[in-house]
Amino acid sequence: MADSFQEDAVSVTDRIAAEALIIDVGAFEGPLDLLLTLCRTQKVDLRQISILALAEQYLAFVETAKQLRLELAADYLVMAAWLAFLKSRLLLPPDPSEEGPSGEELAAHLAFQLERLAAMREVAAKLMARDQLGRDFFARGITEDVQRMRHVTYSATLLDLMQGYARIRTRDDFRPFVLDRDAVMTLEQALERMRHLIGFAGDWADLSSYIPEGWQIDPPRRRSATAAHFAASLELAKEGCIDIRQGEAFAPIQIRSRTPR
């Protein structure tokens, strides 16, 4: 895309105009603002602006900036790429097989955006030129307080409310990482539990029967408790406190206490 507009012959007047604008590049509020300024050099009503000419002016501006090794912000370059595309659409005869809006439609929309922004600027200026409270007209200087009853109301603005909420939520956002341990049973917990229970167990019993209530149904909790109890049973077997057996692969694991004989 960059090459396609580099090849375009840029008129001398466009180049001179572009160089004049480059000085102000920092003062523009984005590509639309720059385009509006370029429009003014066409010296016609915004409604009669030639979008094609405007696209060429803009591309000349970007080209000049490049030659001066001036870095333009990304959105200026995005606009340049889009205008180069628009220009090719406007110049080439329409290809019926091509999808999407026509060059004329795209140009009309850009013209609309420019006209709308220009209109908003105009009314903004009108608004600011209005008489303003505290500058041109004034409110009552002495407000009367007849001290009859003093009655306290509390005030809070929506801003206070939102800032309050934001304060709480950001505290949460940056809470250091902690495992959510609601659904986690540790090896230590299982071990302590089993040490206590195993003394009461006489015969072979399923390991799963040792899993406490509240950990038997919810899958994540059941998984965690099962793993903890299994690890604990290995620990107890190593210590010689229990025997473990399993009929076949995936069959229930059974344990019994190894009572000293």
């Binding site: 509020e29 984005g30 590509p31 639309l32 603002d33 959105d75 999407g100 809006p101 439609e105 795209l106 009309a108 929309h109 609309f112 955006q113 006209e115 709308r116 922004l117 209109a119 908003m120 600027r121 105009e122 009314v123 903004a124 009108k126 608004l127 600011m128 209005r130 008489d131 303003q132 409270l133 505290g134 500058r135 041109d136 007209f137 004034f138 409110a139 009552r140 200087g141 407000t143 009367e144 929506l158 801003l159």
Partner: protein
Amino acid sequence: METERTSLFEAPPMAEQERMVEAILFASADPVTFTELMGRMPHGAEPAEAIARLRKRYEGRGVNILRIGDAWAIRTAPDLGFLMQKETVEVRKLSRAAIETLAIVAYHQPVTRAEIEEIRGVSVSRGTVDQLIELEWVRFGRRKMTPGRPVTFVVTEGFLDHFGLESARDLPGLKDLRAAGLLENRPAPGTVPLGEGSDADADQTEMFDQD
């Protein structure tokens, strides 16, 4: 009890009601709403009529009765501003971005941040909207019924008061803008409209043509 008792009394004569409205409006620096006026005046009073008379009485005087939304206020006549240097409030100068954003909110309300950015062609910096909210000229409006339910911004009564506007409908040039189609939310060709366009239009009509 209270209501029963007071309904036995006749409403004060209109000239008296006019005096009351006059006293109440003079005593307040902020606009006084119709509801508040009703609440403070004796039962049976008709503030609307009293206000209309008072307004007429102060036409061409050094102070005038202004309507701001559903409220009324007395303000000095704008042509006498030159006498008030002592009272002039120094306001922090608004940036160009803030002024444009304010105008866009006023003319396109309710408007989302994305719509403001679409109109200005640049992103809206954090401070800009913040400053307008702090000035109490802009507040959050209803959420838009479009994907993501974005919040909207609208202008406040304080905005109307500051710029001496009776309602948002009296914004300068509003009719011309609408006639020229410049308040439409026209989606770019080739993009899929998210329904925002029609929605925004409906909202706006609702806001400005409510009478």
